[in-house]
């Protein structure tokens, strides 16, 4: 029964999301695209978190993807869709090379190094003036799909669907068992035959490709990159807060968290232009203190309690 309800709800959400641009204006549509962007980043961050590794490097791979997409279009004259793919490939390649060194670290050390890596790439982009346009960044001569907001929305929507599908595949396959074992206890995982380094590198690459492609789509949508905007710390912190709010270790949590926080923060921005991040912070603190499993975890607990009372 509940399976039917779930399917119906999901179908309704999908229809709503697809039809969204047709019954709203340009402003809600641009918010929706930004929510989708953060949603993808939140889900991809959670995918790595399932190994127990906390990354603060989302903005780094997002920015690398943005720059790769814009520069490959400017210098090589490639079609925009291809440059988005290149954004993903380059982010993934850098993640692979870095991962071999960095994925030997754990916990706080890994987190700090990923943060530093993101910062290093921002500084490189700022200083390679002749190639990247330096602090001013680069502008694209034209936008993807001639700036058609319907199509850019659908492109980001497609990317979100792809990310959710990958996340669900990982949750339903043997990857899930490997990652859960690694997160619980690496020595136990190794003693059960799990090649932990292989899984860590694979997940790090996959999530970085997703983040890089998302950066590519974003850059192609708005037609520019700058070190400050493309590597903005927002792209690291907001997805992290969204995943924590919604609930970690699953697809649903980051999706719900991104919808809620994304919409709430846009609304707050209108009323308290600079103060909205304060409220944002308060929400995150309350969630971490009182609902460590997020909204989805809380809902599951209520459901279980309800089932017991019946």
């Amino acid at each position: 029964m509940s399976k039917y309800i779930k399917t119906i709800v999901m179908a309704a959400v999908a229809v709503l999301a697809v039809a969204f641009p047709f019954y709203t204006g340009a402003y809600p549509q641009s918010i929706a695209q930004s929510v989708l962007t953060y949603m993808i980043l939140a889900v991809s961050w959670d995918m790595l978190l399932r190994t127990g590794q906390i990354s603060f490097g989302i903005a780094g791979f997002f920015g690398i993807g943005s720059y790769a997409a814009v520069l490959s279009m400017l210098y090589l004259n490639l079609p925009p869709m291809l440059t988005i793919l290149i954004g993903g490939i380059i982010a993934g390649a850098i993640a692979g090379l870095l991962g071999i060194a960095v994925l030997r670290l754990r916990g706080m050390y890994f987190a700090i190094v990923t943060l530093a890596v993101a910062e290093i790439f921002r500084i490189i982009m700022t200083n390679l003036k002749g190639f990247t346009g330096g602090p001013e960044g680069e502008l694209l001569p034209q936008l993807i799909f001639q700036g058609n907001p319907y199509l850019t929305y659908y492109l980001m929507f497609g990317m979100a669907v792809l990310t959710i599908i990958i996340s669900e595949i990982f949750l339903r396959s043997r990857v899930h068992y490997a990652l859960t074992a690694i997160r619980n206890d690496e020595i136990v995982a190794r003693s059960s035959g799990v090649n932990i380094f292989k899984y860590l590198v694979i997940i790090f690459i996959v999530t970085s490709v997703i983040q890089g492609m998302t950066g590519g789509i974003n850059a192609q949508t708005y037609g520019f990159v700058t070190p400050e905007s493309s590597f903005s710390l927002d792209y690291t912190l907001l997805p992290l807060a969204m995943a924590l709010l919604g609930g970690i270790y699953g697809t649903m949590g980051p999706v719900v968290g991104a919808l809620l926080l994304g919409i709430v923060s846009e609304y707050l921005k209108l009323y308290i232009p600079y103060g909205h991040l304060v409220i944002y912070g308060i929400i995150v603190v309350i969630v971490i203190l009182y609902m460590p499993q997020g909204i989805v975890g809380l809902a599951a607990r209520i459901r279980k309690a309800g089932a017991r009372n019946e």
Binding site: R174, Y177, T180, N184, D185, V188, S191
Partner: protein, 239 residues
């Protein structure tokens, strides 16, 4: 031929010699007791064999092959399995899923086959409640699950690191029978670390006594337990 051979195996941690020049052979179907006072190097010895630690010097041979530098997951695939002194059930997974991991990763099964195989293994150990989250198992069930997890790796050599700890006498008897049975059924070489000497007496044909990382005595339990150097290691002072 011996399944597992250790040759002057040594592990140093800084200035501390945890395992010092250990020579040992284990054959299939044999249950070996590994005893010694706290800090004697029993767990370190298992860590060296299972690949958690790399030896400072000396060698580990498995099936005649030198595996001293093989990573732990490779050794697990070859058939070296172990439990942990501090048990680590994998949370957020059911008991059955805990057992499935070895079948999937050490034996390379797909998810479906691993589920079927794990179910069988749990049944053979009379482990019920396999659909429960690991946090809801009794101590005996948890211990059996830990053994099931090692069997899931398709072991040829198995080390049980204090699996009886925390059990009452009925539960201990139950688990002793279980260990004896799996040793026969799977033709395993089993190494048992245990502080309860009654368990060692009932289970093992041969024991080694470790003290300060060295084997100070070996032989049948009844002989070894009478040796003055063993009594001295356990009680200290002049025996």
């Amino acid at each position: 031929m011996s399944k597992l051979v250790l040759q002057s195996l040594t592990k140093r941690f800084g200035g501390l010699v945890a395992v010092n020049g250990v020579d040992l052979e284990m054959t299939e179907g044999e249950i070996l007791g590994i005893i010694g006072p706290n800090g004697a190097g029993k767990t370190t010895l298992i860590n060296l064999i299972s690949g958690i630690h790399v030896p400072t010097s000396g060698n580990v041979f498995f099936d005649g092959k030198d595996i001293s530098t093989f990573p732990a997951h490779e050794r697990s695939k070859m058939g070296i399995a172990r439990t942990f002194q501090l048990i680590h059930p994998l949370e957020n997974l059911t008991a059955l899923q805990n057992v499935m991991i070895g079948f999937m990763f050490a034996q390379g099964m797909n998810q479906k086959d691993a589920g079927v195989a794990a179910q069988k293994t749990c049944e053979s150990l009379k482990l019920e409640h396999v659909e429960r989250d690991v946090g809801q198992l009794t101590i005996l069930e948890t211990k059996k699950m830990e053994i099931a997890k090692t069997l899931a790796c398709g072991p040829k050599v198995l080390f049980l690191d204090e699996v009886m700890a925390g059990l009452n006498s009925d539960e201990t008897k139950d688990l002793i029978e279980t260990v004896k049975r799996i040793a026969q059924e799977h033709n395993l070489a089993i190494g048992v670390v245990e502080h309860v000497m009654g368990v060692i007496k009932m289970l093992t044909a041969r024991v080694i006594v470790l003290d300060a990382g060295e084997i100070i005595a070996q032989g049948p339990y009844n002989e070894v337990s009478q040796k003055p150097e063993v009594i001295k290691a356990y009680l200290g002072g002049e025996a």
